[in-house]
Amino acid sequence: MFDFSNIQGNILRGYASFPHARFLYLAVHDAGDGRSLLKALLDSGSVTPAQWSEKPDAALNLALTFAGLRALGLPEESLATFPAEFREGMKVRAKALGDVGKSSPQWWDEPWKTSRVDILVMIYGRTEGALEERCRTFRQSLPAGVTELGPDQPAGFFSKDNEKARREHFGFVDGLSNPAVEGVSRDGGAGRSQEIGNPDERGRFRKIPLGEFILGYPGEGGDLAPMPLPNLLSHNSTYLVFRKLEQNVPLFRDYIAEQARSFARTIPGGLPNGVTAEDFLAAKMMGRWQDGSSLIEHPDRPTKALDNGFAYADDPAGARCPLGAHVRRTNPRDALGFGGKTMSRHRLIRRGITYGKPLPPDERDDERRGILFIAFNSGFDQFEFVQQLWVNFGDDFEQSNDGDPIAGSSQGGQMVIPGDETTGRRPFICFNIPRFVETKGGDYFFVPSLAALRLLASGRVRAS
């Protein structure tokens, strides 16, 4: 049994009741001041754990880059035990991640473009007021040797027509499908009904071992992820991928509108009642209807049903959900066969949150908007595999070199939307798909447990 009170809160909890957020970026110039900041935060109970007796009005969580750990004075023999991807950081990994062209680091937003972020501070509020109050008190606590790098990053959930589910800027309900994790019960408040585990040999879903997401526990196949030293530093800690992903909403809408005219001609009996060709095409590219309902369970029209226990095995050719669709790539469930064994080590806990104002339908503007992609994994190989092999490449899904039509890195790629023999709908190929999502910043972070934060604050870390 693991200790919820020692794990930072936003890993296993979705913070759905904290719709307002702000991300602050810190540089540590003085190790002593950096450590005293951590100590002050811990002593005042400001770092939010996964377990609380009463829901707070605001939550605060911290993560550190490799440079940040070094700036806090972590000895080299400990630093050397961290994984290579983390030591290199996201800028160095840019090419491998598909952050090229306008997504390359030279085009990133500040502070990512020119500064070195040491500490990422994630502050969430149940209300705008609670968020601002927590940000204000946090900023007051900053010692002289720790400075904030501007600009900070406001973010928040938004929904449509007062519905409960939150949306991302292309209009889809987001955050639906996170891993169901062993030992995390729904009763504890951390699990949600839409969470989904990995498929087993019988085609059912089983919960995923905690070790896939938290260091120090067995993961898939009983394997322990490599642990940085000392163990107290890594046990109950994890790694975070933070990416600022800008969504070009007008470009997405224009492309869908243009392609939808041709797509509509592939449907012999016409579109189902109440469904536009744009809705249908966008759903095929995403792999879900905009309201979040599954294309597998509801292939003809959206139903607002958010049941998430569907599988792809009965749709091997992608007649309902295309093989190259975004959600089928990022969590293929049973689509790859072998009882899920070839996909089970590549799951991520996603805690993304949108930034920027939503663009109303039929409007255009020059505002910048997107999603802060936040993913937790017990090794960056999990994220990098998904990004490189499933999002930017397509071989596992019979798509050869074609990438994810929504989030992939290719410019001018293509996607086949398979036909459906039962309805007579013909296959359709989307050509010249622009890159709708550009990377504008980010890095790889270590998320220490509360005990590890106290160890870091003490400055008495020994690797052995």
Partner: protein, 201 residues
């Protein structure tokens, strides 16, 4: 060293993989029997074929006195026979080992169990360390289709077969029947039309 072919367009998709491990005489006998059984009992081969990132897997036993020598080179005095594992794969090294350990661990353990200090396939971390210690990098790689993965080759063959069938069946058809036949063709190859080529550098 070259673990994969490369041409002017980029890196090839097939990565070479060679592991050579020592075995005692008893192990050599057992492994020969096992390989003989695997050769005839197709289940393991079929599973390996279904792992579509796997172009090629081969085990061979090299007796201690059968190692080749250059002209004039004296024969080495070896204490063990050796099991030579040759393969190519598409994708990352770690994923390849993990898929082997998760899907094919039974034949893997049966054959490699007789190699000195083999740690068993699961958990996979000791297996990865074992393989790293015993892996031999390739000096040269050649690939007839460096831009093609196993799935690309299979897809290409299927598209050709379907096209030839279409060419035969659609001759002299009136437009409406030609359209029907064309749609049938498109449906049959719809998931074989991805753009392929070497991995851009």
């Amino acid at each position: 060293m070259a673990d994969r072919a490369r041409n002017k367009d980029g890196l090839g998709k097939a990565v070479t993989f060679n592991v050579i491990t020592p075995m005692n005489r008893f192990g050599t006998c057992v492994v020969r029997v096992l390989l003989w059984i695997f050769d005839r009992w197709k289940r393991t081969q079929n599973t390996a074929k279904a792992l579509a990132f796997l172009p090629f897997v081969h085990w061979v036993v090299i007796k201690r006195d059968r190692f080749p020598q250059l002209e004039g080179q004296p024969a080495e005095k070896l204490n063990y026979d050796y099991l030579f594992f040759l393969s190519t794969f598409n994708g990352p090294w770690e994923t390849y080992i993990e898929a082997f350990a998760d899907v094919l661990y039974v034949p893997l353990d049966l054959v490699w169990f007789w190699s000195i200090r083999y740690p068993m396939a699961r958990p996979v971390a000791p297996l990865k360390r074992y393989i790293k210690r015993n892996q031999v990098e390739s000096d040269h790689s050649y690939s007839a289709y460096p831009g093609a993965s196993v799935r690309d080759v299979r897809a290409g063959l299927e598209v050709r077969r379907e096209l030839e069938l279409f060419e035969k069946n659609s001759r002299d058809l009136p437009p409406d029947k030609f359209a029907t036949e064309f749609n049938r063709l498109l449906m049959s190859v719809q998931n074989k039309l991805g753009s392929f080529g070497p991995i851009p550098e």
